[in-house]
Symmetry: C2
Subunit: 144 residues, 2 copies
DNA sequence: GTAATACAATTGACTAGTCAACTATTGTTT
DNA sequence: AAACAATAGTTGACTAGTCAATTGTATTAC
């Protein structure tokens, strides 16, 4: 590892821009924010969850979770109820409306990501996945 | 390109988290935000620039540029003066204080990025750089 | 069984970005 | 020369995240 520090910084600056672009355009295309999409998707595949559990999957701040859920609840995409066994917890469930919204944006979502990676080979994607995962593991270990 | 869309989405979600972590911890470590560091660094290497030119290098919104410069100016890291040849433009210059701040955080910056990539081979980094650049080019072409 | 502690969620104040509306200056048309 | 358009910067209102303080509930210790 003797790569120049400048180049590494440059990689991060590019990542920053990519993240912004993707986040912004995912919502424009599908009509739902990437984070809220992921919340619904998580609730669909994992079933009902407490907010803490959602937070652990999404890895964003609790406060952000609360606020996103408020929006999703207003649109009737999720239902929130206190856990009778433990009144501290809020149990979050996706509604049928929520499920159909997920289904609706499915095509757009696929197209979006396909276009984004249309000039990538399967090898490229595998590689990228591997490297990004490694980087993610580093950040998680470093910053605790 | 027949990778599952889920995996691609997952790559982006990881990128999101990495970006947040890096941004946050860069500032904790060096005492200056990554974006403002990059502004100073750009001014150091390219010389004095108008805000539009800075915006083109940094690729963030004009409004964000204005606000970051306000902070850097308050700390006397930059000086801003109207261009006499074209009074619409503001010419931004790094000060000696600014330069010394850049120098001061250099070691921290190097350590930070080195730690982040300590288990990456030179090959890995080259690869990552290549793939990220490709992705960046895609976003820039797609979203205009 | 009460006091202290821990936990889940919420709220407020903050940062960094976006877009859109505005101001001031410059350049162009006629 | 006056009107209009384009450009550079600023400001306000918004989004999505952060952290810290608060509230309410459950658990533990004595």
């Amino acid at each position: 590892m003797q790569q120049s520090c400048e180049e590494i910084k440059h990689i991060f600056l590019m990542l920053k821009n990519i993240d912004r672009q993707v986040t912004q355009n995912f919502e424009k295309r599908t009509g739902i924010s990437l984070t809220r999409y992921e919340m619904l998707h998580t609730l669909l595949t994992k079933g009902q969850l407490s907010q803490i559990e959602l937070q652990q999957f999404l890895k964003i701040d609790q406060a952000a979770i609360t606020r996103h859920l408020k929006i999703l609840e207003e649109k009737s995409f999720v239902i929130r109820t206190r856990n009778k066994q433990n009144n501290r917890e809020v149990i979050v469930q996706i509604t049928d409306t929520g499920k159909s919204v997920l289904g609706d944006c499915d095509l757009d979502r696929k197209q979006f990501f396909d276009e984004m990676f249309n000039n990538f080979t399967d090898q490229d994607i595998k590689h990228l996945q591997l490297l990004v995962r490694k980087l993610k593991d580093n950040t998680e270990l470093k910053f605790i």
